[in-house]
Symmetry: C2
Subunit: 227 residues, 2 copies
């Protein structure tokens, strides 16, 4: 329990709630913790789930394979992140995507009926919990907007540069490592792997980036890279 509370400090859902209060909330919510191995499926597409998950360790990927066989990586969720939470508060209850583990990971599952029914009780933290959830979903909304903007770009080059620029910004440095392999990156950008590899080489030859395996450096920092 100690460890769990510690892990949850990264989770916004329990923001503004003390550790002691969090502990009693967890009991009240009857949460359950599960461990998964790399590549294991947490939620399968089309499944109906009564609970959403919180990543405690490792990283999960939200994926969808479309009719034409193209795999799309919709999001990567790291420690403290939520997945499947949208369906706790929407009418739609079947998952339109699958969630699987990028590496060995642990997740905490919360039944959303419990979370919602808490509203009826006069629980002192309930209000904070709901507002936190609102903030999380709102932020995910913004993330999806940015994601949409990225995928809407017309060429592989534009997508790559926009992605690298965003990663650089996130890392706070012009040099950074990414945690996707080439195929995953292609699926994230919705482009073809080999063409993307070729484009990376081209950008390197043109002196726009430096790259070695999963390490990238953006040169020519003055350029806005489309952002």
């Amino acid at each position: 329990m100690e460890k769990l509370i510690y892990q949850l400090r990264k989770c916004e859902l329990f923001g503004e709630i003390s550790e002691g209060e969090t502990e009693s909330l967890l009991i009240c919510l009857e949460v359950s913790k599960k461990s998964f191995e790399k590549k294991q499926i947490v939620f399968a597409e089309g499944e109906r789930s009564d609970s959403f998950g919180i990543v405690l360790s490792g990283q999960v990927q939200v994926k969808k394979i479309d009719f034409y066989g193209n795999r799309n990586i919709l999001a990567m969720i790291g420690e403290g992140g939520l997945f499947g939470e949208t369906f706790a508060f929407s009418k739609q209850k079947t998952l339109p995507f699958s969630v699987s583990c990028a590496n060995d990971c642990e997740a905490l599952f919360v039944d959303h009926h419990k979370l919602a029914s808490m509203c009826a009780k006069a629980c002192p933290y309930h209000n904070t919990l709901i507002l936190n959830m609102l903030g999380i979903i709102a932020d995910k909304n913004i993330f999806l907007n940015e994601r949409l903007e990225l995928v809407a770009k017309r060429t592989t080059k534009e997508k790559l540069l926009a992605f690298l620029y965003a990663e650089s910004k996130r890392a706070g440095s012009s040099c950074f490592a990414i945690n996707l392999n080439r195929q995953e990156l292609a699926d994230y950008l919705s482009v073809e792997r080999s063409a993307m590899s070729a484009e990376i080489s081209k950008l390197r030859n043109e002196g726009i980036i430096k790259s070695d395996k999963n390490n990238f450096c953006l040169l020519k920092k003055s350029e806005p890279f489309g952002l």
Copy 2:
């Protein structure tokens, strides 16, 4: 006021709240109503807004022009729909897109501080209002996921068919009209207009669809059209 209450019946935000209660809420929230002409800008990109909008009549479009000059239409919001609401509950406060009118329209503006600060008061409808907002944002989240899936498709044909199929489903009929002109549709699908026009002709010649101006019919209903 009568009319306003009537118009708001389509708005989920006031779901489960009686008309009388809605009326007092509106006063409490100090909402303001504004009218706009076709093509007029409601929110400009980069703006900081303290309020979100509810479409009372007409339709607004959420757009973004990227670095390369491509216009992307992110969403169309009809009567009863909300726009800019995400920023009421997120840390990010500047709008990453602009909102403009597809035709003459009216919108109601709600200051999100007022909505949030109501939480402090013991207002009887506040809880319902917040949960409604949660549902709306969650649904928008799902919409964005679907949108992402659409834009991630690789070819103009796939995008078109997915779009038409979704519209058909929404209309509840294999024949339906769309409220976007060709350029707008292209911007919505993130493709090039002329290529898209050509693709529409091709689909028509192949007997997959029937189309005349903004009216479309999906033939060959047995095909899943990638969905």
